[in-house]
Symmetry: C2
């Protein structure tokens, strides 16, 4: 697990954000906020998919009214996404937002900000200062890409100063761009200058087929450097998929325990003499029913096979026409290629049944 | 683009590896190497998908013989993947390998290594020292995860010393694990100690659905820190998919130019009053026929819409029942929701036709 950069703690309802707490996954509803039941269903699906916080857009007064009804029944604290309107910020705080997000690119008047700060203080509401490259003040088409990170950092610094002067510290910071490299650079810079918790993500990464890689690169790089206390994957599509990809990113860096099996599969090459990918797909189906964090390796040759077997709870090295099954690194059975899936199923169920038994008896 | 850590240059046939040259994508054939025609077809598909190098397993003498025939007709230099057998290394070098890969975990005798070095020197062949966590010497199940990176670094250092004593510098180094965090840590350590070009990748990342995120996180993080001169994504599946994901990783970090359009899409939220995802899918289809690096943004509201439009060659901000089309940040047309795809298609084709015209006249 990467060592996290030390930050203060922000409090959004029952959720704490910062280096002293696990990285929190969040996403955003895509339903019309005024449709309370539909939005609430999406909030619940997101919470079930691993979101500790859910953000909701509230462009109109009808939306902040609906927001209050949703917040009252939500399983997780809600964040109100504010743009342009100080009135919406105050309404959302009073309606029970655990946190609100302000965009320095479109709420700029100092007395507006100070009124929102006062209200958030009274209600114990967290505020994210969310700088977006696309909506920062003064951004013109002719600002060179290399100068935009500095512009985002300036914008952030100026805004943070207003909060600090008002004695408000329940802050989360974010700086997003649609560009992976500028998102990484902006967050490195902000993390270097401030010790508030950081929210990371790309502003928008596109359709899922284009977005998974760039989101993983941007968010993964920052987390691997210890930066990031809450993350959001932004995909044009079902927000549950955003939560699932965010979960995979955290899992890959050991920042989250899945409680589920891990399947290691060799990529196969010219050494491989059996259908390793077909076998792996069968094992993946078997593992869908297992709810223990066991490690299973499906390998196709002797180069890494025995080494991965030593690391796995259950492993198979598949060769020409037959394969060997390993239990915690010790060869325990041989089976023909045809019988391998069934033999593996038995071994996996034996092990996970044993684990379950042990867990229950504790 | 991240600044790349300065390295020496290695030469594998016509391909140079190191910080003075673009990051090279590589993959590995998964056909039986002795099936020359089938393997050659896969090599050609990989080259077409962006691989500058292709690696081939040569476990038997029949494989190194086939390797020679494949190398003679391959569009890119080939790498022979050597394990256990010094004889295969020598045969592969003599058969025309641009580079060979040795695994310190299974070729250990000093005079074997020196014989291979002598042969590689005579033929100008590059050698990758490829340490795998799963196959390093002395790896026992009880070596704690935290000590394995140090073990990989020791193994690498000992091996490199043999090469340096023999005056051989045409080296590439790699340290792989199935674990994302240890792969990142091992490569940071190796990059800190040596200045040879580095090959990065996870040993095996699993089936595609499990592998894309962890591969993007591991390889992306290292590249974002300037580490990595050639990359391989290891997926249990079609190697062309490995090359495509590798390409997306490089693209997301600006380490490669696609020459293709980029599609930015807002993730949508409660502010959105039209089917942005449906519109984006239509635009994605239109863009399949365009072969210029234009930037197109499909946005669903006024928060980031105008800012992204300013950055895009063509943009649309879709609202309730209608949308506005922007050309390089200037609003140029309005259309009903139904007519938007066609209006966008015209604008995109006008622009790309114009670009094509300009390119041809240069």
């Amino acid at each position: 697990m990467p060592e996290r950069k030390k930050t203060r703690t922000a409090t959004a309802g029952t959720v704490r954000l910062g280096s002293g707490y696990p990285v929190v996954i969040q996403s955003m509803t895509k339903t019309a906020t005024t449709d309370v039941e539909k939005t609430l269903r999406q909030v619940r699906r997101l919470a079930a998919a691993g979101c500790g916080l859910v953000r909701i857009a509230v462009p109109t007064k009808a939306d902040t009214q609906a927001f209050g009804k949703i917040a009252a029944r939500s399983p997780v604290p809600l964040i109100a996404d504010i743009h342009f309107s100080p009135a919406r910020a105050i309404e959302a705080i009073e309606a029970g937002a655990g946190k609100i997000r302000l965009n320095p690119g479109n709420i700029k008047k100092r007395d507006d900000i100070e009124r929102i700060i006062d209200c958030a203080k009274r209600h114990g509401t967290a505020i994210r200062i969310g700088v977006n490259e696309a909506s920062i003040r003064d951004l013109k088409r002719d600002v060179a890409a290399g100068e935009r990170v500095a512009l985002m950092l300036d914008e952030m610094t100026e805004y943070v100063r207003v909060f600090e002067k008002a004695g408000f510290e329940n802050l989360v910071l974010s700086a997003k761009s649609a560009d992976t490299v500028r998102t990484i650079e902006a967050n490195r810079a902000i993390s270097g200058r401030f010790d508030y918790p950081i929210h990371i993500g790309l502003t928008h990464a596109g359709l899922a087929e284009d977005a998974i890689v760039s989101s993983s690169v941007a968010i993964g790089t920052l987390l691997a450097e210890g930066i990031g206390d809450t993350i959001r994957v932004s995909i044009a599509g079902d927000p549950v998929q955003e939560a699932e990809i965010a979960g995979q990113i955290l899992l890959s860096l050991g920042l989250r325990e899945s409680g589920r099996p891990q399947l290691v599969v060799c990529p196969t090459c010219g050494r491989c003499q059996s259908d390793v990918v077909g076998l792996a797909r069968k094992v993946r189906m078997i593992l869908k029913k297992i709810h223990q964090p066991i490690r299973v390796a499906v390998m196709g040759c002797v180069v890494n096979g025995p080494g991965e077997a030593a690391d796995a709870d259950v492993a198979v090295c598949a060769g020409a026409g037959k394969g060997f099954i390993y239990r915690k690194g010790k060869k325990v059975a041989a089976a023909s290629e045809k019988d391998l899936p069934e033999a593996l199923r038995k071994e996996i169920e034996r092990l996970s049944g044993g684990l379950q038994g042990r867990q229950q008896s504790q």
